[in-house]
Structures are given as C-alpha cells and as structure tokens.
C-alpha cells in the first residue's frame, strides 16, 4: 500500500489536472452544444446544414485522432498552443457535439404549442428559443447532460496520450517507478469512480430541483 501513500503528491496533481480539464471542457462543451443545437433547429437551411456538419464531423472521428491532429498538426500551419490548452479546447469541441444532440432532443420534447404561442406573442425565433424553448429543453436533458459530463471525465484520460500529465499519465509514471500496476491503476480507477459519482449525484440533485412536471 505504501506504493500509493508514497506518491500521493503525484496522484493529487494528476487528479487536479483531470478535474480542471473536465470543468473547462464541460463549460466549453455546454456553450458549443447549445449554439450548435440552436443552429440545427434554426429556420435557415444553411445554418441547419452547418450544425449537422459540425455534429457529424466531430462525432464520427475518434477523440484521440482529434487530439493528435490538433497537437501535432496545428503547429504545422503555425498555430501553436500549450498542450493543456489544446487538449481542453479539443475535448470541449468534441463533447460539444454530444451536448448539441442531447439539447436538440430536449428541444424536440418541448410541445409544439409552446413555440406557436411564442410566435403568436410576436417573439422572434431567437427570442422564443432563448426565453421559451431552451429553458424548458435544458431542464428535460439534465440526466443526459450528466452522462455526457461523466463521459467527459473519462475522455480526459486520452489527453495523457498527447503529453498532458493528468490522472492516467500520473498513474503511468508512478507505475514506471514502482512496477505495481494493479494497486496503482486500481487507485486511479477508484479516483475516476469518485469523480463520476460526484457528477452523478450532482446530476440527480439538479434533476430533482429543475424537473418540470407535465
């Protein structure tokens, strides 16, 4: 067990980076997702097509490929950002595609009458989306968004492959020194479980608070 206690610092630093990466990526993903979902339900065909293209491109190429492309490809065209920044942006954009689909399903669950009533009151498309549709849509997709949050936590592990020393990379480094893979990776796994349990609990609480009884 001293394998773990001797390296608490490394695990702690890794956990912190994982949490930071998750929170930044989730914040970015929520913004990107809502915008893309709005595009996908907009009345303008070009915008709808752009939204669809975004979701299909991001979802149909694995995150690891995106990360490697961004980290090694962007500097070739003169765009050079830090590894952590690059990873956070890529994960945010990738998860944004999933958030967009979840939010869109929420928008579709809002009864048509709501949109019609908003239009009858003279609200523009943006106004009705912002003030009538989205507030109801987001409340119905708290649970799917919670799942995406958990998926984001797990996906941050891929940043280890492009040099971000988050929890997985930290566990790898400790294992390199100690050669006790079972204890070390079980510990890392438990920490990931703890993070997703927190995300799950938060989602449950939010859902109970925000749910609309129809």
């Amino acid at each position: 067990m001293n394998v773990i206690t001797d390296h608490l610092g490394e695990f702690g630093d890794g956990l912190l980076v994982t949490v930071e990466l998750t929170l930044l990526a989730l914040a970015g993903a929520l913004v990107a997702g809502v915008v893309v979902a709005a595009l996908r339900v907009s009345p303008v065909p070009v915008l709808r097509a752009a939204g669809t293209a975004y979701v299909e491109t991001l979802q149909n190429i694995p995150l690891l490929v995106w990360l490697v492309l961004a980290v090694f490809g962007l500097p070739e065209i003169g765009v050079m950002a830090g590894l952590f920044t690059t990873a956070a942006v890529v994960i945010a954009l990738y998860q944004g595609a999933y958030v967009a689909e979840a939010v869109r399903s929420g928008i579709n669950s809002v009864p048509v009458g709501q949109g019609e009533a908003a239009r009858a009151l003279g609200l523009t498309f943006t106004q009705s989306l912002r003030m009538v549709i989205l507030p109801q849509a987001l409340r119905t997709v708290v649970q799917p968004l919670g799942n995406i949050a958990i998926m984001t936590i797990m996906n941050t592990a891929l940043a280890a492959a492009v040099g971000v020393v988050e929890l997985t990379a930290a566990a790898n480094r400790v294992n390199l020194a100690e050669a006790q893979p079972i204890w070390i990776f079980v510990t890392a796994g438990l920490l990931y479980m703890a993070l997703s349990a927190i995300a799950g609990l938060a989602t449950g609480t939010l859902e109970r608070k925000l749910a609309i009884l129809r």
């Binding site: 050079m80 990379a169 050669a179």
Partner: protein
Amino acid sequence: MVRTLPGLRRSAVAAVAALSLAGLAACSSDDSSSSAVPGAAGGGDKEDLTSSAPVAASLPAGSTMEKIKQRGRLIVGGSLDAPLLSQQNPATKKVEGLDADFGRLLAKYIIGKPEVKIVNSASETREALLSNGTVDVVFQTYSITPERAKQVAFAGPYYSSGLVIATKKGETGILKPEDLKGKTVIAGANTPAIPAIKKAAPDAKILTFGSDPECVQALKQGRGQAYVQDEAVLLATAKQDPSIQIQGKPFTSDPYGIGLKHGDAQMKQFVNDWLKNIQASGLWAKVWKNSIGTVVQGDAPQPPALGSAPGSE
C-alpha cells in the same frame, strides 16, 4: 434526424468489419519465422541467424521449458513498434530487431524450431502477463530494477543500453544531463528516461508522448528543447532525419533483462546458460550486428556480465 441509406450502412459495417479483421490479423503476428528466405524483402543483407543457432541438449522433466516444447511455440511478451529492437515489418509481417531475434533464438534453443508468438505487451502489463502465465518470457527493453525484481525474475542482463540527449540541429548549450536544468524535455511515456531526467535535472519540465515519432515531431515543433531516449532508437532516428542532432554520450546504463515468472529459478538458470552459450559462440554479436549494428559503427560491444545488474542476481 440522421438518415442513413440501408445500403450505405451495410457497406460501412462491412468495411469496419474488414478493417478490424485486418487489425486483428496484424496483431496476432504468428511470427513463425519459417520465412526461411533470409531477409525476404527489405534488409537483404541480413543473414538467417536461427539456422545455425544451438538447441538445448536436454530439458529437465516437468520444467516450464518442457511445457513450452510440448506446446510447440514460445510465447513472448514484446513490442511490434520499437525500431531496431522489435518492429513488425509491414511488408513481410516478420518482427525484426534485437529483442525479436533473441526471442526466436531462445525458442529454437528450447523447442528446436524458431516458433515464436509475440503478444503485444506494454510496460503497464508486463508484470501481470508474466505472473498469470499469458506469456513465457518478456523481451521488451525490460530494464532490470530491484523494484521490478520483486515481481518478476530477470535472466541476463542480455544487453546494456543508455540514454542520450537529442536536440534540433544547431542547438547549443545542451551537452550533459545537467544542462537540462530548467528546460522542457521530451521523453517517451513509460520509458526509463523519465526517472533519469528527474534525477539529473529535478526542475526540468518533462513532456511525454506515446511513441518515438510523436516525440520527434514535438521536438521539431519546439514543444521542448531536448529529447531523451535510448541511444539505439535515437541513432536510427537521427540517421533518417537530418534536422535532429545527438548531443554528447549516453549518460545512463540500462541493463535489459529477460523477464520470467517470479520464482522460476530453474528457467532463469536455463535462460542464463543459453545466454552464456550464444555469447561464447559469437551468435550474440551477430544478432547485434543485424539490428543495432546497422546504425552504430564498429564492432559489437562486450555483452554485460550475467547477474551484474541489481535485481538480476
């Protein structure tokens, strides 16, 4: 609504299935090396080392070696992507390099034929693969350390390597490991370079990437000022890529051992006897010439003394 044409979807499924099958076929690499054509395609000057390799006179009854012989092939934990050490040739499917050749020679010594199956292992899984019996031996630049020796038995060392520093061409001021102080240093994930850099320059920032090409790319793009890697690997890289330069001499000594199941003293003795045999007969030097000798000038070095590394006694 994402609509997919049924035909399109079916062909996509077929394509994915075909791809994954191809991937599987590539991984299971039944490297039976019965490609008796020496150096078929590529590396035409390589001679077939296994034909003249020794075979053990007798195997102790009930030993691990006897079980391997009955099975008919040796299961080796190794890499398929380590240049000069254990790399699969995409044209011939043959795994080439120092570690791969030693694996075949050991198989020949035990079984009489160079029948080897390589199980692609990683530095995270080697100990587990050995202890649960998935692989018989590990040939994978497995540096002998006292910590690891608590979990696996090490025969050898069979080769001694060292870490060197590479930089972009024209970089000055980085010659010794102490010069790495305060610099950003690139290293392969899960390589002994990480602890070595920490020891030589505790305040250096270490960036790790999964594979050697990624590390080289990161160095060229300026994500770090230096790249620390095994000498043999870097020599091969620097030879291919003129924008990379090797600075100074190796600053560590990494004894590579043959990983065996912990506590199997009989097999350890047997493998050490085999190493003694091939070192004395000059076969060891030929293996070196065939792999690392293709990028390093001069004669084969003196092999490290058996049991000389802490953890291999």
